[in-house]
Amino acid sequence: MSSMPGGRARTTDEDLELTPDPSLPPTAVDEAVREAEESTWTPAKIAIWAAIALVGGVAWFMLAIIRGETVNAIWFVFASVCTYLIGYRFYSKVIERYITRPNDRRATPAEYKADGKDYVRTDRNVLFGHHFAAIAGAGPLVGPVIAAQMGYLPGTIWIIIGVVLAGAVQDYLVLFFSMRRGGRSLGQMAREELGVIGGTAALIATLLIMVIIVAILALVVVNALGESPWGVFSVGMTIPIALFMGVYLRFIRPGKVLEVSLIGFVLLMAAIIGGGLVADTEWGAAFFHLDKVTIAWGLIFYGFIAAILPVWLLLAPRDYLSTFMKIGVIVMLALAIIVVRPEITVPAFSEFASRENGPVFPGALFPFLFVTIACGALSGFHALISSGTTPKLIEKERQTRLIGYGGMLMESFVAIMALVAAISIDRGLYFAMNSPAALTGGTVETAATWVNSLGLAGVNLTPDLLSQTAANVGEESIVSRTGGAPTLAVGLAHIMQQFIGGTAMMAFWYHFAIMFEALFILTAVDAGTRVARFMLQDSIGNFVPKFKEHSWRPGAWLCTAVMVCAWGAVLLMGVTDPLGGINTLFPLFGIANQLLAAIALSVCLAIAARRASFKYLWIVALPLAFAAVVTITASFQKIFSPVPAVGYFANNAAFSKALADGKTEFGTAKTVAAMEAVVRNTMIQGWLSVIFVVLSIIVIITALIATSKAFRHERAGVAHKDHEDPAVPSRGYAPAGFIPTAAERELMAEWNKLPAELRLEKPAHH
């Protein structure tokens, strides 16, 4: 194995091609200086890291070992932040040193492809916020809430440890490898690295996964808005507000993005307050009181129209609004949790942690907890973002660690805060809100009786608490409001009213939370439909070339309609599901998302192997193996489990048999039509699971073949073919992290002394 080149060897190869401009200062901190800086441990540095480790250790001890009556929410903040800091400082540097090996002497696509539009060098701090806003949405706000069924500890451990060892690793690697390829998409990289079979399987899997993800996000919105006149009014108002903003930006004051976002924000607040007033009137309550099926149909029509309307009219302005809200909400939530510091009474492990018949989602802790929390710990969807816009904006290669790895840590922190908000409410209330109506019976009395019959420690739910909470948040009922969003909204209202406004403000905070979750989801639905439409057009275009013309209206409309029908069908299936919808479909969402992560990590594995980093390949192999084991086990259980609550086909068989026996009601299905619906739904869900898992296994196997081929080539001394863009010397400098080091500051000062005309980039292609 002596022929195996060490980490540094390749960098020297690159350096031969990268002749720097002698008239410019160095474009990277000298390797030896940086090494020395990193490996010198001053007493102050040691003290800081010892303190971080100590605080983190104490926090974990409080969460995991101490079994008091309550635990304070502040320990969640300390445990997560300290672990993130340690993961970022130590683990991500290992990845940087042995896998990615960034070279600041090399120009990034934003430099060598600069066009002032798509490829623009962007300040690292700004890009961090931009990337974070693109990856974080409703996902990290929903999954942890649903997973709280198992108690707080399993979810907390998975979110924090999972992000450090898996989620952030995936985001960082995809971002880096895509950047080295001029910002190529995950699909293109899969095709190049895994060949036609692996690439095609990855493409089909991605398309299907997007359909499922959009459908289930839409289901979350429908569940939050069903029978809620206030919610329907205020979320509905986002459409005219966005249209107004679009017209304003196009015709009245182009480019005034911040200004229009502020106007939009004020209008949004007015819509929330107005929603309360409208819902109080008789006509308002009657007109905006819509059942879930109507809302689902409304969302489907909306989805189609939004996806064919020009971007400037609806999507772009709502995206501004959503980004604006995202940053505001997260800062607000973090502040509120730190100021209020709620006491948590939920046990570390609940009664359902060791069972597989939980009412919120069925299945055992392993593997289902790990698929229920996808976003926030490991989210495959991020690979599509990390290989899209962000790599085209990076200024220097070393910044990918901050943006890719650090950005995902931020999302994980959002997930932790969502978890804290959800578990700060009464546990009885949690189960009454998150269990399907088929179990709770839908009224406050039946729900209270049912929750109390579960025999949960310390739970004694009164019908009064349910109706009082509903009245406080301005809803008719909060029983069986599944999907996570309403629970988070109640939790957030509960925390925020202690911070600002008291009980009188609870209804506002509740609908504020529903509003921003709906906003994030509608943006994801729009953008997801559009991206899926283009993927479908390109795929059909391989057979019917006309479809590749994206401006060809009939093709665009047809493909949009196909995609909307696909997710619309899954959405309607969820809304009308006699078994509850969220509890049957949410595992599919998580499995789909994690399978995408497995696909992305497979591609990263093959690329890392091509770059001859065999000794440290475990860094990629570890999260890949975990994601593969979790999702394949979960899929197999969904397909083969004999327990009807877990296995789709087992449930299908049970209901088919009941129908054949001439029964007119079975389990939670009270009519023959409902029973037939279950038979149909479980069959579709079962086959979707089969398709997902087969496609993913194909991708993983092709990645393993590519990896072993790279290994054999290495041993035989054959040169690796890589698909990176050729190295171009950089002509600029910027530091890597938030806070520049001493050496970085020195170099920045040198660059600042340079005359302005020399400092600007000179793109090669003009």
Binding site: G129, G528, V531, F534
Partner: protein, 63 residues
């Protein structure tokens, strides 16, 4: 007072950067630096071009 104002301005600039409000400015800088002969797009044209290009080149938003 001035520091507070400065801090607020800095935050607004950052937020604007995150949301892409400074895109036209950056385009102008690029245009000037790369020595194009043709005059740059006006602000109105630039923003139209930007959103219209998104029509055929959609960007995903995450869950």
């Amino acid at each position: 007072m001035n520091t507070i104002l400065e801090g607020f301005r800095g935050f607004a600039r950052y937020l604007g950067g995150v949301m892409g409000a400074d895109a036209y400015q950056k385009y102008l800088e690029h245009h000037a630096a790369s020595g194009h002969q043709a005059p740059p797009m006006t602000e109105r044209e630039f923003w139209r071009d930007r959103t219209d290009r998104q029509d055929t080149n959609p960007q995903g938003r995450c869950c």
